[in-house]
């Protein structure tokens, strides 16, 4: 599903290149639950962002569902987003001015989903995450865990093939964190590919593959159950 060939990323500052990622070769299959681990500055988030097409790479090849992403223009990439990729951020990143319901609705609006269909999709999602009662609240009226729940729901609502989660539990207490991880595990079982970035060994263990990054290189990869 995802194939990275010799992907590299650097920031050029005058005459000095600062390398963030080097020689990344990685294949991720449909149904994988991949955890990316590594110390601060190892390039975890950057790798996730490149996979999510939120950031450009400096070199290498990236195939997403056999499409060469490195050759696509912005329009095409946005289309990929809309169709296949859901994001979950450490800081939730819900839109403060919109209610829970409207936050869930926004991706569908951008995807130009018809009103009736939109309504039923949102209703399903509210149901599934058990947040029907909260649908008219604004993000700042929710706890962190609830906000992240909404963020996951928002990522899922477009029915993505893959969810990219950047330290999804980083701002949550352990109980809330565990709930979110269970939720992701469940989604993975239902067929969604998941890639998460995490510091936490325990959280990483929810995945079936763990990729360790250090100084921009893939240091090692472990396979789990």
């Amino acid at each position: 599903m995802i194939k990275l060939v010799d992907v590299e990323k650097y920031y050029a500052n005058k005459f000095i290149k600062t390398w963030v990622l080097r020689n990344i070769n990685l294949t991720i299959h449909e149904g994988d639950f991949v955890s990316i681990m590594g110390p601060s500055g190892a390039g975890k988030s950057t790798l996730l962002h490149i996979i999510g097409m939120l950031d450009d790479m400096s070199g290498g090849e990236y195939y997403f569902m056999d499409e060469p992403v490195h050759k696509l223009n912005e329009k095409k990439r946005t289309a990929f987003h809309q169709q296949y990729i859901g994001f979950v951020f450490q800081a939730y990143h819900l839109i403060d001015e919109l209610t829970v319901y409207e936050n869930l609705e926004t991706p569908l609006l951008y995807k130009k989903v018809k009103t009736a269909e939109r309504k039923s999709m949102i209703a399903d999602m509210l149901d599934r995450f058990n947040i029907v009662a909260k649908k008219d609240l604004f993000p700042n009226q929710l706890s962190g865990g609830q906000q992240q729940l909404v963020a996951v729901a928002r990522a899922l609502i477009i029915n993505p093939k893959i969810i990219l989660a950047d330290e999804p539990t980083g701002n949550l207490n352990s109980k809330q964190g565990l709930e979110i991880m269970e939720m992701l595990k469940q989604l993975n079982k239902e067929g969604t590919t998941i890639i998460q970035v995490t510091h936490d060994e325990n959280k990483a263990a929810f995945g079936n593959r763990i990729i360790h990054l250090a100084d921009g290189y893939v240091e090692k990869e472990e396979q789990h159950g």
């Binding site: 939120l54 950031d55 912005e74 946005t78 990143h93 001015e97 919109l98 409207e102």
Partner: protein, 786 residues
């Protein structure tokens, strides 16, 4: 989608009330100003454009060349019009016209009026001009010599709600039959209350309508549709010397629609002449105020980008395309513009009555039948919204999402500082040009109003001397002088400029007869000098003791200089065939506005009817006026008393300048205000952006004044730069404007420096508070994040 945007924008507005308020206030002010100015400009621009044949109507101008000047005038020899119409096929119709003067006694039944303005014209007048007829037939209205066409206002005044058609009004002992009632729009350069056929001018004004020597009329022609006026002009240009070899004059054609704004000489049309320069200046002002308001909006919006970027980033991450974001942001600014427009319309509705009284014009604004105006207002809303929103929209939507989502750190946002600085420079550039402009304006106006004009204009009333003033002037004068509050009484014709007769019929020993010399003529009497406080430079003024003074002349200094007379006193000159001695030289006074240089003048005495000028003591003016009116009832029982203050007439020379001055002052203030709002927004952004730097510097031991200097240095240097750029532009513009005046101030450097100081001071005041707050804040606050 659309509704979700509106909902979102609305919540955003409510959430950031102060920001929204500042933004909207700026736009509202910009809109109100530009709409008000546009209304004024549209009104000026539309002068005389209601005439159906406007494209084919021309007024004939006469350019008289003489030794001392080239004089342009719109009065033509009396018979010019008919001769032109008879000899040139391209001219399809012609009318002569004179009018706009009041003072004639008109009676209807037992009522009498003197303040209606009369006019006379040829029968084709209503064929050429399409003044709307309320009743009557334009084709025949002026056919009969005893017919009169009156305006709706006059009909209402004379006949009330009764039908006016066929009613008889009396001018002296002649009957005039009302053959039509018309409406004269306010923006017509032809203004009168009643109009009668020109033939009557023979008996009422002693005019020889076939004369090439005398001219009191304006001549309008209508040429064949689509026929170029320049062709006609070429054909008729030198027709005057053919018929009157004495007169060295060329004809030219002035398109009807140019008369109001592009007439460069004092037109003596008895209506408020316009000036295209002020239309241009104010258009520019309107545009600038709007531009400044838009820039303000841009500045505030982009400076808030640190708050918006997170949202934009999230939207991008969940699938928004760039153009959708641009659409959303532009939509928001259009919404701002729309709210501002609605507020602006309400405000204009409220202040329009004050505004119209102030500028002395009746402006119409937004009746719902006026689709054109609705269209323009809507267009303006969108243009402002899209223009003001464009820059923020493109900036915000261009951020790479990932840079915006890293824990919402402000310093990751591209600051676009350069563009915002340019915007600040533009704002202060405009403000500075405005300030300099209005300072120069004000100085020149002050100079014109307070420089000694060589005569006294205060506490003088004038009126036309009818009745006993005509038959026995001396005893009427004595009776008035009984009142101790009346200082002096004099005859004068005309009492003030314009109206002076100009003539080249003057001879003196040593005159170069190959060159024409034009001199202005004023009728005065003994007390003229005293009444108007004018002094002599040589010789003496007319004296009541000297009966021969009726034959003598007094000239002004300019006349003596231009005539080249070395020892003028006692010299014999011949003016209009009458020979007399020069007994005195009058000190020059500014007989007209400072726009024109002082002209040569000749003064003579005259025993006939004239304007009476009464100089009063400054105290008890009202009682004195009541006294004069009481005497009037005694002396002139058949006419109501109507008078004018001399000062009003003189001040009216500067009507355009005074009005523009108030405009300019108001809009300068507003431009500065809006610029301040912009600076406020920018400054708070900068402080927010640099709070970490400020914190670190404080920890390292920077003092508050040091920080203040550090933070305000950039802004102040931008403001100074804006000033430096503004100076040459303002200098050029104001230098150009001052060329309108024969007597003018010189542009002083200190004026420019003053403008600079004002703007820097304002900028410091605006940014000072915020910078101080930032500089004095506890550094721990800003550094806690790291």
């Amino acid at each position: 989608m659309f509704f979700s945007y509106i909902k979102f924008a609305w919540r955003n507005f409510k959430k950031n009330k102060v920001y929204t308020f500042i933004n909207i206030i700026g736009l509202v002010i910009g809109m109100v100003c530009s709409i008000l100015i546009s209304l004024w400009i549209a009104d000026e621009w539309n002068y005389d454009r209601f005439h159906v044949n406007r494209q084919n109507i021309y007024r004939i101008l006469v350019d008289t060349e003489s030794a001392n000047s080239v004089t342009k005038s719109s009065t033509t020899p009396n018979t010019l019009g008919p001769v032109l119409a008879a000899n040139y096929n391209d001219i399809t119709a012609m009318t002569r016209y004179v009018g706009g003067f009041s003072g004639w006694l008109i009676r209807y039944e037992d009522k009498s009026f003197t303040n209606d303005r009369w006019a006379a014209a040829d029968p084709a007048f209503f064929q050429i001009f399409s003044f709307p007829f309320i009743v009557g037939n334009p084709a025949t209205a002026l056919q009969d010599q005893q017919s009169v066409v009156i305006t709706d206002k006059m009909a209402q005044k004379y006949f009330g709600d009764n039908t006016a058609l066929g009613k008889v009004i009396k001018k002296d002992n002649s009957d005039l039959y009302v053959t039509g009632v018309i409406h004269i729009p306010e923006n017509s350069h032809i203004q009168f209350d009643y109009l009668f056929p020109i033939e009557n001018m023979r008996r009422w004004f002693y005019q020889d309508l076939e004369s090439w020597d005398v001219g009191i009329f304006r001549t309008y022609i209508q040429v064949r549709a689509g026929f170029p006026g320049a062709e006609v002009e070429k054909k008729i240009a030198s027709i005057i010397p053919e018929h009157n070899p004495q007169m060295k004059a060329q004809l030219s054609l002035q398109p009807l629609i140019d008369i109001h704004l592009r007439t460069t000489f004092p037109d003596q049309c008895n209506y408020q002449q316009g000036n295209i320069t002020y239309v241009y200046i104010l258009s520019l002002v309107a545009l600038c105020v709007l531009l400044v308001a838009c820039i303000n909006f841009m500045n505030l919006s982009t400076s808030r980008s640190s708050i918006r970027v997170k949202e934009i980033g999230v939207r991008k991450a969940i699938g928004a395309r760039r153009w959708e974001l641009i659409g959303q942001l532009l939509g928001e600014s259009v919404m701002y513009a729309l709210i501002s427009m609605i507020l602006a319309i309400l405000i204009i509705k409220l202040i329009l009555p004050v505004f119209t009284t102030f500028i002395g014009k009746n402006l119409e604004f937004l009746s719902f039948s006026n689709f054109k105006m609705l269209f323009w207002l809507t267009a303006l809303t969108f243009v402002v919204g899209i223009f003001a929103g464009s820059y923020p929209a493109f900036v915000l939507s261009s951020f790479t999402p990932i840079n915006t989502l890293k824990a919402g750190l402000v310093h990751n946002v591209p600051s676009h500082a350069r563009i915002r600085n340019i915007l600040v420079v533009i704002q202060f550039f405009t403000a500075s040009v405005f300030i300099i402009g209005s300072l120069v304006f004000y100085q020149q106006l002050y100079y014109m109003q307070h420089t000694d004009k060589g005569y006294d204009k205060d506490n003088i009333v004038y009126f036309y001397g009818y009745g006993k003033y005509m038959t026995d002037y001396n005893s009427a004068r004595e009776a008035l002088l009984q009142n101790p509050n009346i200082e002096s009484i004099s005859k004068a014709f005309p009492p003030f400029y314009p109206g002076e007769e100009e003539s080249s019929d003057i001879m003196w020993p040593g005159k170069n007869i190959d060159k024409e010399f034009v001199i202005y003529h004023k009728i005065v009497d003994f007390d003229y000098l005293q009444t108007f406080g004018i002094s002599m430079t040589a010789g003496r003024f007319f004296n009541s003791e000297m009966s021969t003074d009726l034959d003598n002349y007094v000239l002004n200094e300019t006349a003596i200089k231009e005539m080249g007379l070395q020892e003028p006193l006692g010299k014999t000159i011949t003016y209009k065939g009458r020979t007399g001695q020069i007994i005195g030289v009058m000190k020059d006074f500014h007989h007209t506005s400072f726009h024109s240089a002082i002209s040569p003048f000749i003064f003579e005495m005259y025993n006939g009817p004239c304007y009476i000028c009464v100089k009063m003591k400054p105290d008890n003016i009202l009682q004195t006026l009541a006294f004069i009116e009481g005497k009037w009832l005694e002396f002139v029982p058949d006419r109501p008393f109507s008078y004018m203050f001399f000062k009003d007439a003189v001040d009216n020379y500067y009507h355009n300048e005074q009005r523009s001055m108030v405009f300019a002052r108001g809009f300068t203030g507003l431009a500065i205000f809006i610029s301040c709002l912009g600076l406020l927004g920018l400054c708070s952004f900068m402080v927010e952006q640099r709070s970490k730097e400020i914190g670190i510097r404080k920890v390292l031991g920077a003092s508050v004044p040091g920080l203040f200097y550090l933070l305000s240095r950039d802004f102040i240097s931008w403001v100074v730069l804006a000033n430096l750029l503004a100076w040459p532009v303002a200098w050029y513009a104001m230098h150009h404007w001052l060329q309108n005046f024969a007597y003018r101030i010189t542009l002083n450097l200190w004026l420019f420096i003053l403008a600079g100081i004002i703007t820097v001071f304002i900028a410091l005041a605006m940014i000072g508070l915020q910078v101080l707050r930032a500089a004095m804040a506890n550094p721990v606050e800003s550094l806690r994040y790291e």
